[in-house]
Amino acid sequence: MRVMLIDDDRDRVLMVEEALQAGGHEVIGRFRDTDNIISAVDALQPDIVLIDVDSPNRDTLEYLGQISRDRPRPIVLFAQTSGSETIRRAMRAGVSAYVVDGLSADRLQPVIEVAIARFQESQGLKQELAKAKTKLADRRDVERAKGLLMQRKGVDENTAHETLRRMAMDRNIRLGEVARSLIAASELL
């Protein structure tokens, strides 16, 4: 099947493209949200368009589906061609599909499933990366805050760490955040 991708996330586009090609589908175009979608659809005549759920261009695609009388255009894949649970999963993963009228649901399903899986995967990767980054930043800032406490209050490392830990528990926030607010306060003084 001839698939068009509209997504600003370059890594995700690559993941989806690889998986689709492995499944014997042809990715005929990759577009960013700022590109001219109407002329792209006109020129490429895709069977299916996969698009980021939160793309403003979805309204433009919706209109192309409305005026599909004279030539094949993408239309929205909805409850009639697929169970609404699939749609919900797709929306949660961040992918929407627009398909040419008349494509059977069983041909579509695998393409949509691939997209859902890859979009979910990319979200997972992003969350992991963000978590790892926070962890690193926390460790660095806690060390700095401990140093500040030791210097200002003349206490040893263990006491400094204990002080920070108690502050975090009292305020019900993470150790890293306490450290950062302490550093910010000391920069003010």
Partner: protein, 355 residues
């Protein structure tokens, strides 16, 4: 009675970053939702298709919708066909038609009202057709929108065939300035502040406001799915009541400037700040201004003449081939009785006199 019987208290309401989403912001910032026993999160969405899909699949509880959208859903014309309904008009009026500097010059800078602008555009179209030039391109925001139908109405009344003499396309509001200045479109019918924003940025001119075509046309509504409304009647009424209070508050002197400040502070709309403030200005000397109505008199009620007009427009531009039971469709989509019940619960702000 009202707070005690609400089963579902935490609600997510979807909205688009537009000037007329302001009643939702006001209801949150001034605690009208809290006052009705609700805890509301506003979810800013990117497109009307997106907001509809999230509403239909239950990812959000309620949503700011274009007024024709519940009717399109109930007709199945949106190809989704998940039944939706509204008990509240969030805003009336608010759109303008803007053309590029180049087309404005070709139209010889017409008087800013529908007839003069329509005549001027028809002359340009006839001249260019004779010269074999390509058709002019006009944008609106969604197939099922007042923008689309009012643009068609204006073209039709000006002797211009919307299907044969021009190209109509959909462009998201956040993209219209860019597309207009790049020459991809020649004009657009879009809500405030995007008409005035074109003038401030020097890329186009407004030639008419849609309240000159159909005054007081229902613009945005608060939509829920029929299933959700059936399961959560108390939360539905409380939500509508809170937004009625917000709408009334917006009609009181001086309040729109405060509301404009909320919009600016929320950094929702990526248009010049002065155009956002102007969109909510009390000053009605700008005839091309949006002339929003948020809550004067009975205007928040989902009037059935609006619904009937929308269904007619859908049939006129072949969005539905159905000949529906019009009264049944309108009754189930625009819920007058629910509105009346919610109106009786909206007691924290008194109703202003009708204008």
């Amino acid at each position: 009675m009202k707070a005690a019987s609400i089963k579902r208290r935490h609600l997510r309401i979807g909205m688009l970053p537009l000037a007329d989403a302001v009643p939702l912001l006001v209801a949150r910032e001034l605690d009208f939702f809290c006052g009705q026993g609700l805890d509301v999160t506003l979810s800013v969405e990117a497109s009307w298709a997106g907001i509809r899909d999230k509403l239909a699949t239950g990812l959000i509880d309620a949503a700011q919708l274009l007024a024709p959208m519940p009717l399109a859903a109930n007709l199945g014309a949106d190809r989704l066909g998940v039944p939706m309904e509204t008990a509240l008009v969030l805003s009336r009026n608010g759109n303008s038609v803007t053309v590029s500097n180049e087309l404005h010059k070709e139209m010889c800078a017409p008087a800013t009202e529908p007839q003069a602008a329509g005549r001027a555009l028809r002359r340009v179209i006839e001249r260019e057709r004779a010269a074999g030039r390509p058709r002019r391109v006009f944008a609106h925001v969604f197939p099922f929108s007042s923008h689309h139908y009012l643009l068609r109405e204006w073209l039709h009344c000006s002797g211009i065939d919307a299907d044969l003499d021009v190209n109509l396309i959909v462009v998201p509001p956040s993209r219209v300035l860019q597309d207009l200045s790049a020459g991809r479109i020649d004009g657009y019918c879009v809500g405030a502040p995007w008409g005035m924003a074109a003038e401030i940025e020097g890329v186009g001119h407004r030639v008419l406001a849609t309240h000159m075509i159909r005054p007081g046309c229902a613009e945005k509504v608060l939509g829920v799915t029929h299933d959700w409304a059936t399961l959560n009647p108390a939360a539905h009424l409380a939500m509508v009541a809170a937004l009625i209070e917000a709408g009334r508050w917006l009609e009181q002197p001086g309040h729109r400037a405060q509301a404009a400040q909320m919009l600016v502070d929320a950094r929702l709309i990526h248009a010049p700040e002065s155009s956002v403030r102007a969109a909510l200005s009390d000053d009605s000397t700008d005839a091309l201004g949006p002339q929003f109505v948020f809550g004067a008199g009975e205007t928040l009620s989902p009037h059935h003449d609006d619904a009937r007009w929308f269904v007619q427009q859908m049939q006129r531009c072949a969005q539905t081939a159905k000949r529906p039971n019009l009264q049944g469709l309108v009754d189930s989509s625009f819920r007058l009785r629910l509105h009346g019940q919610a109106n009786a619960m909206a007691t924290s702000v008194s109703a202003p006199f009708a204008q």
